[in-house]
């Protein structure tokens, strides 16, 4: 049963065994696993339920519909736009469908530094089940569009390692609108597999419902309260309440922490809403001598991994760049300048190749939350370290070098004040790239870490079974549990841990 909030006309009070808050990569896998095992399960999702036929391929309509805070959630200084899906299927509906597992050095880093006793076989089995359900396969060479081919060409001319992703698409026709929802159901997000199968197995899913507070019962169990919200403004329409034996928070790295905070769980858990990783990315745009038409075809199929530097000591490290495309209005707003100069840039949109430079970071951000008529708002405090900035600058130089090797006429970055690089002789200017609020633009698609996993309640929020320290029956299963950045793309890591989590729940006999 899938119930959309708009269908509800009176306050709702439910009783179930397990309440799953959030229907994205984590919540969907958990709900599926529990429902298949016969556990009475209710899933609530704050966003709306959108089908392929609802996808209009227009940024101005789909960004507000599918993304948290209309696609414009930002760090407190405004420099980093923090993207999260907020709809039935969560970020799996709006991501680039890249299936990148957690590298083994990262697991080893977590074992050594954070005390996670992770079993390699258990994780490998979980990942294999996820891959099978999603139908993960390599992107065929024929599906690599010109924009992505430019990255591959540049890297290969320089002798750098490069490759194409595995993905969870089938029968893709290459319209290019993956980031605002596939209108053809070619991207196999959890909206097309885990969630419908959970429903077939008996799970009930309520969309347009926001959970705002949990109260633990004295004899066990929880009372979760919130609202049915109006789609669009997300203002409260009706009270919504669930009594559950178990609650699984899978609302994402911002909102799972927000719910715990609003429920008073922060007081004895000092690690809550801390240790946040944003893994910021910066756009790199190259003016090419030929047509690229970046907006058609799979937006992100190719990457350059020459500078990946993942080690057990550091975890995810180095930097990498990956081709990307986005909506015209987003690209326009991110390109330097205004007036006739900007129009001159935009008229070359068909010859513009785009990439994102991804620079893994230390988990050092924090969040604070306020609750208003539209739900939680997070104040995400994030400071870039000197080491990270130096790595960013080296990465910008390398990405530009690859574009010039592929024939670029000029290369620009996500800055309003940095003059475009005019050629290879200009590359070292990237090493002095300025970072200033208001005129430097980053994007984060992989917010992680606000409810860190670990054995020590003083330095982590959940234990190795995803259960909140000291609160039996309350779990967190999303990107918030990662002690540091899990991968360059986080869908597969989240789903792998969710599969592991639900099996551990079931193994406990609950």
């Amino acid at each position: 049963m899938i119930v959309e909030g708009g269908e509800l006309r009176a306050p709702v009070a439910l009783r179930t065994h397990t309440l799953v808050v959030g229907s994205g990569a984590g919540g969907a896998v958990v709900a599926h696993g529990l429902a298949m095992a016969g556990v009475e399960t209710v899933v609530v999702e704050e966003g709306g339920y959108f089908r392929a036929s609802d996808m209009t391929q227009r940024d101005d309509q789909m960004l507000p519909a599918l993304y948290r805070e209309r696609g414009q959630q930002q760090s407190s200084d405004g420099m980093i736009t923090v993207l999260q899906g907020s709809c039935f299927g969560g970020s799996t509906l709006i991501n680039t469908a890249d299936c990148e597992p957690t590298p083994e050095p990262v697991y080893e880093h977590w074992r050594r530094r954070y005390g996670l006793d992770l079993d390699a076989r258990e994780l490998a089995d979980a990942q294999a089940r996820v891959f099978e359900m999603l139908g993960v396969r390599p992107i065929d060479a024929s599906q690599v569009n010109r924009n992505n081919a430019v990255v591959l060409e540049g890297a290969r001319k320089l002798g750098w390692k490069a490759g194409t992703f595995q993905n969870n698409r089938s029968n893709c026709i290459g319209s290019g609108y993956c980031l605002i929802g596939c209108a053809y159901d070619a991207k196999k997000g959890v909206n097309l597999n885990y969630l419908p199968r959970a429903v077939e197995a008996g799970a009930a899913i309520y969309t347009d419902v926001r959970i705002e507070r949990l109260v633990a019962g004295e004899g066990g169990g929880f009372r979760a309260t919130g609202s049915v919200v109006a789609r669009g403004p997300r203002t409260a329409r009706l009270p919504f309440e669930v009594q559950a034996e178990r609650v699984v928070l899978a609302a994402g790295a911002v909102h799972s922490a927000a719910i715990l905070d609003a429920s008073g769980f922060a007081r004895e858990r000092p690690a809550l809403a801390r240790n946040v990783s944003l893994q910021p990315q910066m756009s790199v745009a190259a003016w090419m001598p030929e047509e690229v038409v970046a907006w058609r075809g799979i937006p992100q199929s190719a990457f350059c991994s020459e500078f990946d530097d993942h080690t057990p000591e550091r975890g995810l490290g180095g930097f990498r760049f990956e081709a990307i495309s986005g909506g015209l209005s987003q690209v326009a707003a991110g390109l330097r300048g205004f007036g006739r100069v900007h129009k001159e840039t935009m008229v070359h949109a068909r010859e513009t190749a785009l990439a994102l430079l991804l620079v893994p970071d230390e988990p050092s951000g924090t969040m604070r939350f306020t609750r208003g008529e539209r739900g939680f708002a997070a104040r995400i405090e994030y400071r870039m370290t000197d080491e990270w900035v130096a790595r960013l600058r080296r990465g910008l130089r390398a990405a530009a070098q690859a574009f010039f090797a592929a024939g670029a006429r000029s290369v620009r970055f996500g800055s309003e004040v940095f003059e475009p690089l005019g050629g290879e002789g200009d590359l070292d200017r990237a090493l002095a790239f300025p970072i200033r609020t208001g005129v430097t633009h980053f994007v984060s698609a992989h917010v992680q870490g606000s409810c860190r996993m670990g054995p020590d309640p003083n330095t982590s929020v959940v234990d190795l079974d995803h259960q909140v320290h000291g609160v039996p029956g309350l779990y967190v299963v999303d990107a918030s549990i990662f002690p540091s950045s899990a991968s360059t793309h986080t869908m597969i890591p989240v789903m792998t841990f969710a599969d592991r989590a639900v099996r551990r729940m079931l193994a406990r006999g609950v």
């Binding site: 709306g48 959108f50 609802d54 996808m55 209009t56 391929q57 227009r58 940024d59 101005d60 309509q61 789909m62 960004l63 507000p64 519909a65 599918l66 805070e69 209309r70 696609g71 414009q72 959630q73 930002q74 405004g78 736009t81 319209s175 609108y177 209108a183 789609r231 669009g232 403004p233 038409v293 907006w295 015209l328 209005s329 987003q330 326009a332 707003a333 205004f338 007036g339 006739r340 900007h342 129009k343 001159e344 935009m346 008229v347 949109a349 068909r350 309003e416 004040v417 200033r436 609020t437 208001g438 005129v439």
Partner: protein, 180 residues
């Protein structure tokens, strides 16, 4: 469509009110001259005529007519479209935008050494004023630039009539509205 959150964040900054107030020298009239205000549409939903007139001038500076392609902000009634989006926004956001516009009108020329109202400057001088905000050492002024630019560019480049000039052939499927 809604206004970009990045713009909303800027317009909700309390310090913006102070900047807007400081920019208003005592005794000066608020907003554009009567002629500009008279051009305001009669059916504005969120902005008053003076604020609309300022936004119209600012949008024309960010996206002027002519150059690499002909269409500019005024050709698509950009200020009026933004006014429509603002109708769904809180009073605080609208006030913030008005403060930002007032700052641009009275303060931005000062930033580049001109004692004049923004709306009275020629196109090149207006562009220089906006550029001065962008390159300012003061974070708030850069934020004003960013907030207004995002507001204008997100709105302008989402308009179908703009796309042919850029070689963008638009969505592959039929279009219909969805509520977000």
């Amino acid at each position: 469509m809604a206004i970009p959150e990045s713009s909303r964040r800027v317009f909700l900054r309390r310090s913006l009110y102070a900047a807007g107030a400081l920019a208003l020298a005592p005794g000066l009239a608020v907003g554009c001259a009567k002629g500009d205000v008279a051009r305001a549409p009669a059916d504005l939903r969120a902005l008053d005529p003076a604020a609309w007139a300022l936004l119209d001038v600012v949008a024309d500076t960010f996206i002027p007519r002519g150059g690499a392609f002909e269409l500019g902000a005024r050709d698509v009634d950009l200020a009026r479209r933004i006014d429509a989006y603002l109708a769904d926004e809180s009073v605080a956001v609208r006030r913030g935008l008005s403060a930002a516009l007032l700052f641009v009108e009275w303060g931005s020329p000062l930033v580049c050494g001109r004692v004049a109202r923004f709306s009275r400057l020629g196109p090149d001088e207006r562009a220089a004023s906006i550029d001065a905000l962008c390159h300012s050492r003061i974070g708030l002024l850069r934020d004003v630039y960013a907030g207004l630019k995002q507001l204008c560019f997100f709105t302008f480049y989402a308009i179908d009539a703009v796309w042919p000039a850029l070689g963008y052939d638009g969505p592959w499927i039929g279009r219909k509205q969805v509520s977000g």
